[in-house]
Amino acid sequence: MSQISAPPARPAPHGDTQRIIVNDAVKTYGTGETAVRALSGVDLEIPRGHFISIIGPSGCGKSTLLRLIAGLESPDSGEVAVFGATPRQACAAKMVGLVPQVPALLPWLSILDNVKLPGRVNKGAETRRRAMPGHQERSTAVTDPAHLLQMVGLGDVLDRRPHQLSGGMQQRAAIARAFALQPDVLLMDEPFSALDEFTREAIQLQLLELWQQIQTTVVFVTHSVSEAVLLSDTVVVMSARPGRITAIVPIELERPRRHDLLQSAALHGYEDTIREHLSSAWSDGPFVPTA
């Protein structure tokens, strides 16, 4: 490796260590006539500790936006900064927790070993994380994987393999795994979409409880309006073709939130607002919201 060819250490795109910033991000898949513009000039700022949901119809680029923040893809143009670092730097410091749509547990490991996994790979991350500008000591509220699993109601099945558990239990284990990292930002990509109504409601509350204790930033992709309102501080509404942000709706409901909130008029008011934004953004045909 010659010195000449080594690229200069680039400063982080933004110095703001208290925000996730997406600046004019453009992402196109494919080329020529078949090209699909997944994101066209998306701007977004997420303050540390906020719970934000991204909602929109299929193909609006909400998952793409999440993948940009996760560093799984890079924007064609524009910038993404995670608390003052690039997404890849943030991942290298294990600041990013990912909960995909399916539980994505390792089938040959016990539930407990699955939750311990993030601690076992990339052991140099802790040093890198401390060196991050604006680094905050993580809350020690929950560090023990077994304790985390107890908190999500899986204390009795620590030694089971994933296939021995129901889909809901597997997804709770996946959430515990992501929290075990004590990530600076937790990225969740429609994590509850495969679950039945009852399981989903139970898990939503457990997620809120964990989040209250650990106070991390959450970016939550969903296509359920009521889920978005119930969980979030802010709901970002996106629309498709091309993928863009059409509205940002702050949800000023008191916390901690409970499920009886689902019946409240205030919550319904927010749901109506969001549905209006969704349908006005829907130019190609009638929009049927999924609740």
Binding site: A70, G71, L72, R88, C91, A92, K94, V96, G97, L98, P100, Q101, V102, A104, L105, L106, P107, W108, L117, P118, R120, V121, N122, A125, R161, P162, H163, R177, L181, L187
Partner: protein, 283 residues
């Protein structure tokens, strides 16, 4: 890609595993006639047909009694020779397996290695290894060397194909979790890719264990002066028209193959208890 896997999961060897796997508890099902009767009946029919042919044609098939006699006369002789063949088969298999595993990792990790090695591997696969055996005897003599090489060659390709397919058969969401953790390539290989490949590796082993015996026997055939081994026993006895001895040796080979399959199926059931293929649905 699925083709490799299918090809590597033949129906016949599963006979041992499937039947035992189905019923809820394996131990009790042994005692039920519905479990063992079909097998015993089929064996009895086969033995009856054999005896019927052998009765009037001793130079086509020896009678089962004469085969049993040949075995009983000198069991030590067969055990000694079987041991030689088994050693050749297993050592050759180990060499072929380790080589294929290492090459498989290289091929799965580096596209350059894939383009360089795969054409060669395919040529090697379509070449009948049986045809190479005599040349190897010329090159390496009558010792164990040519036998090990033939066995290693014959086992190399199925393992290579399944290892490369297995290492790539990683679930994308899990891979994304590893990437957000910035796991190193080695960590992904060790903690994710190799365990994911295990079902494919066992599928390959179930093919390659019997193949290794084929390799060893073929190599023994090609080295007529070889001192020992069931293949040598067969070729010597054939030239002396001792059909009972030939078939006694063949029976030993069949028994060896079955035992090897039994071992690999048992180990597989242990190691892959987490995998779909091993999960028993309630009866």
């Amino acid at each position: 890609m699925t083709k490799t896997l299918d090809a590597a999961r033949p129906a016949a060897p599963l006979l041992v595993g499937r039947a035992t796997r189905r019923g809820g508890s394996r131990r009790t099902s042994w005692f039920k006639p519905s479990y063992w009767l079909p097998t015993v009946a089929a064996l009895a029919v086969a033995a009856g047909l054999w005896s019927w042919v052998a009765k009037d044609n001793p130079y086509i098939l020896p009678t089962l009694g004469s085969v049993g006699e040949a075995l009983a006369n000198d069991p030590g002789f067969f055990v000694r020779n079987a041991w030689v063949t088994l050693q050749e088969a297993l050592i050759g298999l180990a060499i072929g397996f380790v080589a294929a595993f290492i090459v498989g990792i290289a091929v799965a990790e580096w596209p350059v290695a894939r383009r360089a090695i795969m054409p060669l591997a395919v040529v090697l696969n379509v070449t009948p290894v049986v045809a190479i055996a005599p040349a190897l005897v010329v090159a390496f003599g009558f010792g164990p060397m040519p036998k090990l090489i033939v066995t290693a060659l014959i086992t190399f390709f199925p393992v290579l194909m399944n290892v490369t397919t297995g290492l790539r058969s990683v679930s994308q969401p899990i891979l994304q979790v590893f990437r957000t953790l910035d796991a190193s390539r080695l960590e992904v290989l060790w903690r994710l890719r190799i365990p994911s490949a295990l079902p494919y590796v066992f599928a390959a082993l179930r093919v390659v264990f019997p193949l290794s015996i084929v390799g060893a026997v073929v190599a023994e055939f090609s080295a007529p002066g070889a001192a020992a081994g069931l293949g040598t026993v067969i070729s010597v006895a054939s030239s002396n028209a001792q059909l009972p001895v030939v078939f006694a040796a063949i029976a030993c080979l069949a028994l060896m193959g079955s035992l090897l399959l039994l071992v690999i199926t048992t180990v597989e059931r242990r190691v892959l208890s987490w995998h779909e293929s091993q999960q028993v649905s309630a009866p």
